[in-house]
Amino acid sequence: MADLEDKPYDPEREAWTRRRFLKAAGLVAAGAAAVPILEACGGGGGGGGGALTTGKAPVPRQGASIRLLQWVHFVPAADTEFIRQCTEFGTKYGVTVAVERITADQLIAKTAADVESNSGPDIIQMQYGWPHLYDAACVDVSNEVGILKSKLGAVASVNDAFCKVNGVYKAIPYTIVPNAFTYRTDLLSQAGVTSWPKTWTEFAAAAAKMKAANLQPFAQTDGHAYGDSLTMWNPVLWSHGATEVKADGKTVTINSKETRAAIAWAQNAVKGGFVVHPEWLDPDNNQAYHANRISATLNGASIYIREKVEFHHYDSVSDNGVVPAGPKGLYTMNLIFNHAVMKWSPEKETAKALIMYLMDKTNYLKYTDIAGGYNAGPFAAFDNDPVWTKDPKMKAFHDVVATGKWPGWPATPSKQTAQSQQQYIVADMFAKAIANGDTESAVKEAESRLQAIFSRPG
């Protein structure tokens, strides 16, 4: 096992041994037997499985040509390394690989158009719960995930929930973009805040101190930002004990005293000095931080990394802190990306082989090293990625991974949870209640919108 993990990906070598195959087959058989029992008990993944697991690693076809579509990375060097690895794969196996990149907020429109026209790139990077939205267009990659699991250990729970649709893997876990607070140590010290707040109550108190000292505020979006808004307001909701929907994925639970408590915290924090921006999109807090307009904000590690690597204005006085905990615990949310092989691809095996090559431990660690901690690996083997110890200030970004949940939690990701997320219902509820102070109407509107989604005809 150990030697397999350390050697680069080689499809010829990756076929399972008979013992490993029997072991995995046994587990699959046991799992298959357990599904009806779980379903009878009200659990399980909902059936519809039939995952294909042959144990054979995909073999690239020499002369094949494939296209991969993904976002433009916030750390440009990471994209350079990603493309380099794709080119390396192409050279090694005689495959032409084209990497197409568009901004993350445009990725969904392009993906939707490809899915509807049944044509496009062979591999598409799926954000959050897209494999559930487009499951019919994604091929079964359970076999490949099985191989990766055997090499790299368990899949991170959020990637697993997003990739697995009705018991079948429709995407290969690719990465986690951890979200933590980046803050200015010099400004916080001036206001008398000596350590990063551990609870939301402490956070609100620290924000108030910043305001009292007439210093740059703690600031965050509560608008329609696909990353920073969701990663802020869902954890606030969860850490106060509230959820959008029950674990059954049907019963809307947003109208609760816990939700009101979460909103009350937000309203008080804003009254105290925490600044929310409904107009901010994902890049806006980055710009504000680099322009010395704010003292703390929740984001991926890109603010800190770009300060350290590129701008050098506030790198020495910047640090990162974990998302604070609420009365019901510590919850975080991170951006999740996975790779799906599309059903229209004429080169499915080559496409799968490319992803396997990119997920090879050696290759992946090179990638995370260059990304500087912006990305975290989605398998257990990456928990101890040296990138987290290289710079002690990056620890917060490592620590937020384990506590991560997904929009719609505790319900299993579904089309409905994905639609609720895409409509920013939770963020809108907070934004409206903060803007006009009318908690009741904000909660009721969120409830009616969620009920609309979960009761839609179909």
Binding site: I108, V115, P278, W280, S448, G458
Partner: protein, 310 residues
């Protein structure tokens, strides 16, 4: 000779079908229409009919779904709360911007119709907002309204028009809507201006000279000569602009995409929200088709006005 030949062929020898069709006026007319009908059918009728079909199905991306009757419309009108916000926003957005574009466009045309130095250059320059791709110009506006680095606010603050830091354009519901209207007016005004200018230049100058001789002042000339003679152009431009503004997607999508908290969604962006990120294309189609009867009534009204004699 020719008469004889015709008699012979008419009596027994049949002429090829294509020759007979070409020689007759009506079939020839249909044949000539065929390419146009084909293009219209492929690019207009088929998408429209397909959209109609989608709107009565449970279709989702990569899933054709099944017939559900008026289920999607029922859902929109009775359950989907932001639909009504988008519906009213669409009317407000179209109504306000049309008034401004009409007034400013007409003023622009009247000014451009005068003789002044660099007249042709100014006419061409004023067309720029209409020529630049909408997404590009809207992105430029987005930067100008940027919450952190707004050049609009910088200018307004330095001219002491507003207190620093100036309005948070996309942070409030009314300011965000105002920003949308400003950009749409800026972009659409040249279309009105140039179309009206073309109309103004067809009005014979003799009429104005005669009016002046009769003692009519400028306002009376405008009211009794310019406006009546410009009426067909005004109505056509109004019709086209209303349709385009009702269906506007680019400006609201790029500038606010519904934020803050869905207060600036119009029907086009709400349809997109359901159809593309939400994956429910049947529902998205039903949202976009809600405008169809509204626009049909507007078009019918304008066409009646156009046909009515002065």
């Amino acid at each position: 000779m020719s008469t004889a030949t015709r008699r012979v062929s008419g009596a027994g020898v049949s002429r090829p079908l294509h020759l007979r069709l070409i020689e007759r006026e009506a079939p020839m007319g249909y044949i000539l229409l065929l390419p146009t009908l084909l293009v219209l059918g492929t690019f207009l009728a088929w998408p429209f009919l397909f959209g109609l079909w989608l709107s009565v199905t449970s279709a989702e991306l990569s899933d054709p779904g099944h017939f559900i009757g008026f289920g999607n419309y029922n859902f929109e009108f009775k359950i989907d709360h932001p639909f009504w916000t988008s519906f009213w926003n669409t009317f407000l957005y179209t109504g306000v911007t049309t008034v401004f574009k009409f007034t400013l466009g007409l003023s622009m045309a009247l000014l451009l119709n005068q003789i002044f130095p660099l007249q042709r250059f100014v006419r061409a320059a004023l067309l720029l907002p209409w020529i630049i791709p909408t997404v590009l110009s809207t992105l430029a506006w987005k930067w100008m309204f940027d919450p952190t680095f707004s050049v609009v606010n910088w200018v307004a603050v330095h001219l002491h028009l507003v207190a620093a830091p100036g309005p948070n354009w996309f942070g409030g519901t009314s300011t965000a809507m105002a920003a949308l209207m400003i950009v749409n007016t800026w972009r659409g005004m040249p279309f009105y201006g140039i179309a009206f200018l073309a109309g103004l230049q067809t009005i014979p100058l003799d009429l104005y000279e005669a009016a002046r001789v009769d003692g009519a002042n400028r306002w009376q000339q405008f009211l009794h000569i310019t406006l009546p003679l410009l009426r067909p152009v005004l109505l056509v431009v109004l019709l086209l602009s209303t349709i385009l503004t009702f269906a506007d997607f680019q400006v609201p999508f790029v500038l606010t995409n519904g934020a803050p908290y869905n207060s600036t969604h119009v029907l086009a962006t709400w349809a997109y929200q359901w159809g593309v990120p939400g994956g429910a294309i049947g529902l998205g189609a039903s949202v976009s088709l809600v405008l169809f009867p509204v626009l049909s009534i507007i078009i019918a009204g304008v066409l009646v006005l156009l046909r009515r004699p002065e």
